[in-house]
């Protein structure tokens, strides 16, 4: 009976859920943004330390389902060291691939919450340059 469950809640996801990477806050983030998933109530804040166009440190905080929180942890781990330019072109599919588990469309919303926070933050960074 656990086959279907273990497919989604595999060790990769549960490791990140139970021992998240960089869960907490940066003392002085370059930028921060929060969002909710109104369908199931997940909440997520992402904080980045950016220097020379590159993510030095990424922290998240939040509460909600294992998928949304593990995905945020995986995202933080992945984006550290990457350039802002790279992240602008990062597609939703890349985020879903990082999770390494099959998600139905409704659960993809959870898996993409942190990614959405990141994209919104990058968009806000663009605003002063654009105006």
């Amino acid at each position: 009976m656990t086959d279907g469950l273990s497919e989604i809640y595999d060790d990769h996801i549960l490791d990140h859920f139970e021992s998240p990477y960089h869960k907490g806050h940066l003392p002085c983030p370059s930028c921060a943004h929060s969002e909710r998933n109104p369908i199931c109530g997940d909440q997520l804040t992402l904080e980045l330390q950016i220097a020379d166009g590159r993510v030095k440190e990424a922290f998240f905080d939040g509460k909600g389902c294992a998928i949304s929180q593990a995905a945020a942890s995986i995202l933080c781990e992945n984006i550290e060291g990457r350039t802002v330019e790279e992240l602008r072109t990062m597609a939703a599919k890349e985020m879903l691939d990082l999770l390494q588990v099959p998600l139905t469309p409704s659960r993809q919303k959870c898996g993409l919450l942190g990614f959405k926070v990141l994209k919104t933050m990058l968009y806000s960074l663009d605003q002063p340059a654009a105006s």
């Binding site: 139905t104 409704s106 919303k109 959405k116 994209k119």
Partner: protein
């Protein structure tokens, strides 16, 4: 007959075969002749089957569960929304809007609800005392009364733009009434009585020049010609599923995303909230902000099927068949002494013919035609200001769809002649 015309006729006949109701008789062996598509279209088998499939195979509520039924029905509903968006040629949304599941396509219960939604949600926020809402006599009551209601609530004023003598939209008179107080122009793309086609892109361009928004009532036009919200540049477009060969109880409101984002909600309830606190709530982005409660889900999904059918038939066949019927109807009816057809010539109208027969009240003519197996509408057609303009209480309306035939036009003409003979004989005997 040229090969091209022959091909079109064959295709139209194939389309007709998709409609089970049209195989019925009207009692006895008399064929049913349905010339009332302007009121509601008949439904192709695919639409009827889709509703059954929804309830037999994946009935569940949408957007609020994680079980497979929920996943399936949500996917079907959102696929239908994308079909409608493509049907209206909406612009592609940017990445962040897509991540929010934002859409410019809102499911409503129909045209009437779509207009009420805009009148209330947009009007409450953007209309003030002294502002003007510009209407014209072609409008259906559904595109008049909601504006009167919000005008009464906000102190805005209704201004009427007159028609040309032959019942066309008068662009010059319209332009003369536009000014900095004009905040909304509500206009039909096709009159439900005269069939008049209005120059929507020209109307929108002139309205935007004074900063007014435009709502287009596409209830009648959507089944007959492409609706291109980008070419029109319209701010809001509404139509009903049931006139587009789809189910009743479902319709669509298109709105420019920035306007929908700026508007408050219309109805409050489940599914439309972001967060609910003790004393206030915040809302999701469009379309969900405007879709409180449970939608008519099967109907919304089957509307996608109706859109699929129309796309599969193609506008060329639809237009050619309807135009042929319209021309034939004008030719046959105008040859009958005592028959008057109202509105513009065939070149400026869609497949609707409203007429009167001298000495025969519209309602009696409708009943007589019904007895001969012909379904038409006889009334003011929810357009009293237009009938006031015509100086009539009622007209009889024959409205055509791609599934109608030349033989049905002939039957209409013969039935009118037959009714006249009956009434004239009685009159002669008194």
């Amino acid at each position: 007959m040229s090969p091209l015309v022959h091909d079109v006729a064959v295709t139209a006949a194939e389309i007709r075969a998709e409609f089970p109701l049209l195989r019925n008789t009207s009692g006895g062996d008399r064929p049913l002749i349905y010339l009332d598509t302007g009121a509601t279209a008949q439904k192709p088998q695919a639409v009827i089957d889709k509703i059954t499939e929804c309830y037999e195979h994946f009935n569940a509520n949408v957007h609020r569960g994680v079980h497979p039924l929920h996943e399936r029905i949500t996917a079907e509903l959102e696929a239908s929304r994308r079909k409608v968006a493509a049907f209206l040629n909406t612009r592609p949304l940017d990445e962040l809007d897509l991540l929010d599941d934002a859409s410019e396509i809102i499911f409503t219960s129909g045209t009437t609800m779509g207009i009420n939604l805009v009148a209330q949600a947009w009007g409450r926020q953007f209309l003030q005392a002294g502002d003007e809402i510009l209407l014209n006599p072609l409008e259906h009551h559904a595109n008049i009364v909601p504006w009167q209601m919000i005008a009464a609530a906000t102190g805005a004023k209704i201004v009427w733009s007159p028609l040309t003598p032959d019942g066309r939209f008068d662009l010059e008179q319209f332009e003369a009434r536009l000014n900095h107080r004009t905040k909304m122009v509500a206009v039909t793309a096709m009159s439900n009585v005269l069939g008049t086609l209005t120059p929507i892109a020209d109307i929108v361009q002139r309205a935007h020049a004074v900063g007014a928004k435009v709502l287009v009532d596409a209830a009648q036009s959507a089944p007959h010609a492409p609706t291109d919200v980008q070419a029109w540049d319209a701010d809001f477009v509404v139509f009903s599923g049931h006139k587009l060969y789809g189910p009743t109880g479902i319709g669509v409101l298109y709105g420019k995303l920035e306007l929908l984002d700026a508007m408050g909600p219309f109805l409050g309830g489940g599914n439309m909230i972001d967060e609910v606190f003790d004393d206030h709530s915040t809302y999701k982005r469009p379309p969900f902000k405007f879709e409180a409660g449970t939608l008519p889900i099967a109907e919304a999904i089957a509307l996608g099927t109706a859109v699929d059918r129309v796309q599969a038939w193609g506008w060329d066949v639809i237009h050619q068949q309807e135009q042929t019927l319209l021309e034939a109807c004008h030719a046959r009816l105008s040859a009958i002494p005592g028959v008057t057809i109202y509105g513009p010539s065939v070149a400026d109208k869609g497949a609707i013919v409203s007429f009167t027969v001298e000495g025969i009240p519209a309602h009696d003519l409708g009943t007589s035609l019904a007895q001969r197996g012909i379904a038409v509408r006889a009334s003011h057609h929810c357009a009293k200001p237009l009938h006031k303009w015509l100086g009539l209480d009622a007209t009889t309306r024959a409205s055509f769809a791609v599934y109608n035939t030349q033989a049905e036009v002939d039957a209409l003409a013969e039935a009118i002649t037959g009714t006249q003979q009956h009434f004239l004989r009685r009159r002669g005997s008194h």
